[in-house]
Structures are given as structure tokens and as C-alpha cells.
Subunit: 153 residues, 2 copies
DNA sequence: CACATACCCATTGACGCCCATATAATCCCA
DNA sequence: TGGGATTATATGGGCGTCAATGGGTATGTG
């Protein structure tokens, strides 16, 4: 399974280490299993993460913008300087930078939420609340949930 | 990882030396790990830097501008004539030329901002302010941001 | 000789690597 | 199919290594 799915709650130890859920590690490409990228979510007080391959894809896209335009700078600055890479140790743990932790309000425990091609890290209580809210919104608006779920490839 | 990502704040010592962040050193091609080029950013009071190999890419970009335009001359002159090369010592430190330092208003501390294929060096406070402004501008016209960030594969 | 720069060595703190344990999941065999 | 044995995952802690920083000395160029 090369997708990030399900949710997990892991503890952050005294050294600041936290285990990346095993199934998430397996979702990373075999090539780069010991490095992930993290960045502040744009739409919520959470951290988003994924494998480095995705970053290279983004780099390619930005590189295609007009080199001397303001957009180029904005993207380049907002994305590359805000992204951090962290290494995963042999036990499958990694460090969440202080700045990101405080952005998400994470202290002693981190909640991992699979999002398909990437995942989110939340302060546990906030994360649960968020899933509840977004599920409710989805059902109320009877959005295309049914369509999405029943659509055949 | 062969990209310059994340941000770092390093001190400049009495001799004017400053450490190039470790991950930035690793982003340089193994061939030329002890030399980088620096030049004044055209669009902001900051210094831009990269490995010597990147020069060709810059040349190509400038070459793609209309040869008879003012831009061509301006960019060509402003960038190429201002480029300096500096050596990195065994501890990973280098010297920022006085002219560049004063251009960026850097005194005792330098902020390194990854920009993918190159990086910027800012006076810390100004650099942080710049990323903030950049991010705001992107979020306001959130048109293309989403495309760049969320497009799959 | 004065100044700038490169090389060498030292210190501190952070991080990675290794080993250990407990709980949970899986397997194997009678 | 039950139960013990094996493996995997999450977690804790010791310790060596490396990055960032400071400073002393040699080399060099005007």
C-alpha cells in the first residue's frame, strides 16, 4: 500500500522523538525510506508530511515559472524555506522541529492522519475535532461523497 | 537531497566567518563542495547563492530574455558582473564579502533560506518579514498555490 | 610588516546509532 | 483451534559523532 491511511496516536519522548506509524513508513518509496518532509498546513493548524519525492515534483513545477517574476519568488520562498526535512532513525522515529510543533500546538503526543498521498500531524484533541467537523460538513452538504465512493474506475 | 530547503540562522564570528548549513553543503554537487557563488538578489535586499554549476542555468534563463530588451542588459549586467566566488573551509564556513553584507544589511547573524535550486542569505529580521509577506501574497491570490501544492503525481 | 585568509585544534550541544524492554500482532504446531 | 513461541512496533535511555562556534597559528600578498 503506497498510500497514507488511517489514524494513529504516538507519544513524543523526552528527546522529542516520535514514531512514524509503521504503515506510513511502508507507504514511503523504498528508495527514500529514511527521510520525510514536513511543512505547515496552509489551511489548518497542523503539520503536513510526505516523502521527498513529492518535493522534487514541486521543485520542478516551480522551476518552470518565470524565473524573474514575483510569483517565482513567492512560491520559492513560501515553500522551500518553510519546508523542513527530517531523518527517520532505525527505529522509525523522527524529530518534529520546535517551530512546527508550536504551530500545531503539539506537546507530548502526536496524532497522525492519513490523507492519501500525504499525511497530517495534529495535536490529538484538535485533530479528532477536525475530522468530526469535516465529516459533518461533508454529510450536511451531501457533497459528492456518494459519487466519489461509488464511482468505478 | 539535492535541494536547498528550510531555513537556518547562523552566527558570524569576529573573523567574518559563517557556517553554511550542513544540509546546504550536502545539496552542493559532490564535485564542488568547497566553492559557492554569491550575488546580490535583484528583487530584494538579500544575497543569493548556489553551487558553481548553477551558473549555466542562470545564463540560460537570461539568454531566453529578449536580446534587445532593456531587461536583458540589466539582468545580464546586474547578475554576472556582481557574482563572486568564495571558498568553504574544512569546517564548512565561508566569508561573505563586505559589499554583499552591507547590501543585505547583515551584521552579526545570517539567515539562510532554502529556495530549491539556490538559497538566499538575509539579515534575520528582514528575512522573516519577507517570508511572511510572501506567504500572505500567495494566500490572497491563492489561485496557483493550490495547483502547485496539491496536484498529484 | 600589516592585513587578510587558510589551516589546525578545542568546546559544546544536538542528533544519530545502538541496545533494551514491553506490549501487541502473527505464526506454528500439536 | 488453542496456546506457546516468534516477530514487529512503540517506547526508553546510553553514548559516540557531527555540526556550529571560538580561537591560535601559519601562510601569503601587498
Amino acid at each position: 500500500m503506497d498510500l497514507f491511511v488511517s489514524k494513529f496516536f504516538n507519544k513524543i519522548d523526552k528527546k522529542g522523538r516520535v514514531s512514524l506509524p509503521s504503515s506510513f513508513r511502508n507507504a514511503l518509496p523504498k528508495a527514500n525510506r529514511n527521510e520525510i518532509i514536513l511543512y505547515k498546513s496552509i489551511k489548518s493548524p497542523s503539520i503536513e508530511g510526505c516523502g521527498v519525492g513529492r518535493l522534487k515534483e514541486i521543485a520542478k513545477r516551480i522551476n518552470n515559472l518565470d524565473f524573474f517574476s514575483e510569483d517565482y519568488d513567492d512560491f520559492s520562498t513560501s515553500i522551500f524555506s518553510e519546508i523542513v526535512t527530517t531523518n527517520i532513525d532505525k527505529e522509525g522515529r523522527f524529530l518534529i522541529p520546535e517551530e512546527l510543533k508550536s504551530y500545531a500546538g503539539i506537546k507530548t503526543e502526536a496524532a497522525f492522519f492519513g490523507q492519501g498521498h500525504f499525511f497530517q500531524i495534529w495535536e490529538p484533541a484538535q485533530g479528532l475535532k477536525n475530522t468530526e467537523v469535516s465529516r459533518k460538513r461533508l454529510l450536511e452538504e451531501k457533497k459528492s461523497l456518494r459519487i466519489i465512493l461509488t464511482q468505478q474506475k
